[in-house]
Structures are given as C-alpha cells and as structure tokens.
C-alpha cells in the first residue's frame, strides 16, 4: 500500500519542476508546457486526496482542471501565433509589445 504522502511528494516535485520551467525558459511555448506540468501536479494531488479520503469531489475538480487547461492552451497558442505574425520573436524576454 503506497502512502498518501508519496503521491503528495511526487506532486510537489512535479509542481516545482513546472515553476522552474516557467521562470527560466525563454521560449513562450515551453513556458506554456511548464504550466501544463503544474496543472498535472495539481491534478495528481486532487486525485490522490480524493482516493485516500473516500470522496468523489477531487476527481470532479480534476476534470474541470483538464477542461480549463484546454481553454488555456487554445488561447495561449493563439496569442503566440498573433505575436509571431507581427515578426516579433516568441522569446519571453524579447516580447515588449505592451510595454512603454
């Protein structure tokens, strides 16, 4: 029997990987992928607690998280296409369209 804390530890490691990826990568698409890693870590936590505390609520919320991730990916990638069409680099430290 695997203890709950093992799942929570795996989820914490994955979440930290995602945070590091968002903070240190330059390519905007990879930053979005790192956000997906963080959402997956949160999902893993929700499902693990749902299983160990005998409740269905965690799995329902995890389903909603997957739906929200789909919307986020669609809008984020559309923004990347718009930025790329304007001949601007997709690196996050060179995008300054809205700065003045």
């Amino acid at each position: 029997m695997v203890p709950l804390s093992a799942y929570v530890a795996v989820s914490a490691v994955l979440f930290t990987t995602g945070v590091i990826g968002v903070l240190i990568r330059r390519n905007f698409i990879i930053v979005l992928m790192a956000v997906e890693i963080m959402l997956n870590a949160a999902n893993l936590n929700l499902v693990a607690f749902s299983h160990y505390l005998d409740s269905m609520a965690g799995q329902i919320v995890a389903l909603f998280v997957i739906a929200i991730a789909g919307g986020e990916a669609a809008v984020g990638l559309a923004i990347i296409i718009v930025v790329f069409r304007g001949k601007i680099s997709t690196n996050v430290d060179e995008m300054n369209l809205l700065k003045w």
């Binding site: 945070v19 990879i30 790192a34 997906e36 005998d54 409740s55 995890a62």
Partner: protein, 173 residues
C-alpha cells in the same frame, strides 16, 4: 505490485518533467511532455480513477499536446543558441527555496481529515465512471455549465485572435 508500478510511474514522470524543462529543441520538449502525461495517467489508474486516466489520455495527449505540436510545426522555430531566460539564476534560487518550504510543510502535515461518502468498495461496485457521472450531474451541475460557457468563450477568443486579417481590417490599419 502496486508499489512497483507507483515507483515506475512516479520516477518516469519526474524524469520526463525535468526533461521537458531542460531539453533544448521544442519538439523534444513536447515528446517529453507526452511521456509525462501518459505516466501521470498511469498514476491515476493506480488511484482507482480510471475515467480520469482515460480523459487525461484522450483530452491532454490527444487534443492539447497535438495542438502544441501543430503550433510548433506551423511556426518552425529555430533552436536558439541561448534557450534560458537572460537572468535565470535570479529565478532559480527562489523556486528551489519555495520547494524546500513546500517539503517542510508536507513533512509536518498529518494528511488526516473526515472521510467522504464514496469509499473504495462502493465506487468499485458500479465503476468510477458511474460515480463521477452521478456526482457531476447532481452536486456539480452549475459548475459543469459554467465550464461549458468558459470553453465557448475560449473557442471564440482563440478564433478571433488567430484569424488572418482580411482586406477591411488591413485598410483600417
């Protein structure tokens, strides 16, 4: 047996997560993310959440990741010489400190709590899909509708953003 599969799925998913962040070529990062998503789906299977595992494979791997790979293919990005952010050590230190804080919180947490109304044998009687469906369309109906409206808004937003500017739009500019 469960412990063995847990060790396999968790180790490979952590490794794939690290590779997603560390690899240089964006397409390789996408493949590493694919490995991560499939192994997290395996962890969901171990937790008796087979409906969620299948949804993860269909929606995440089949739709979201394919969308990412499409955009990578369309943009045809060249691999940059410098692929990390200009001041990345500045960000690396706080995130590692944050992880240490997370671990410290976790080690002193009891993880107890009142039990819910869905014990494992009751769920296994009709299957996970049945339990999720009954709960989703009774207690969480409003949230379900809100997610539907959100997805409609996201679709419209993505179409408006990614639309090629037509003649009338170009004249205005």
């Amino acid at each position: 047996m469960v412990a063995f599969f847990f060790a396999y799925f968790s180790l490979v998913s952590i490794l794939a997560g690290a590779l997603t962040v560390a690899l240089r070529n964006p397409v390789h990062c996408g493949i590493a993310l694919l490995t991560l998503l499939l192994h997290v789906a395996g962890l969901f299977f171990l937790l008796n959440a087979e409906f969620l595992a299948i949804v993860q494979i269909i929606v995440y791997v089949g739709a979201i990741l394919v969308l990412y790979l499409f955009v990578l293919m369309l943009l045809n990005l060249k691999t940059d010489e410098r692929y990390l952010h200009a001041r990345y050590p500045l960000f690396l230190v706080p995130s590692v400190l944050g992880f240490a804080y997370l671990l410290a919180l976790m080690l002193q947490s009891p993880f107890g709590g009142s039990k819910g109304d869905a014990p494992v044998p009751a769920v296994l009687q009709h299957g996970d899909t049945y339990a999720v469906g009954i709960k989703m369309f009774s207690d969480y109906l409003l949230q379900f509708e809100i997610v539907g409206v959100f997805l409609l808004g996201a679709i419209i937003g993505a179409i408006v953003l990614a639309k090629t500017p037509t003649g009338a739009d170009a004249e205005q500019e």
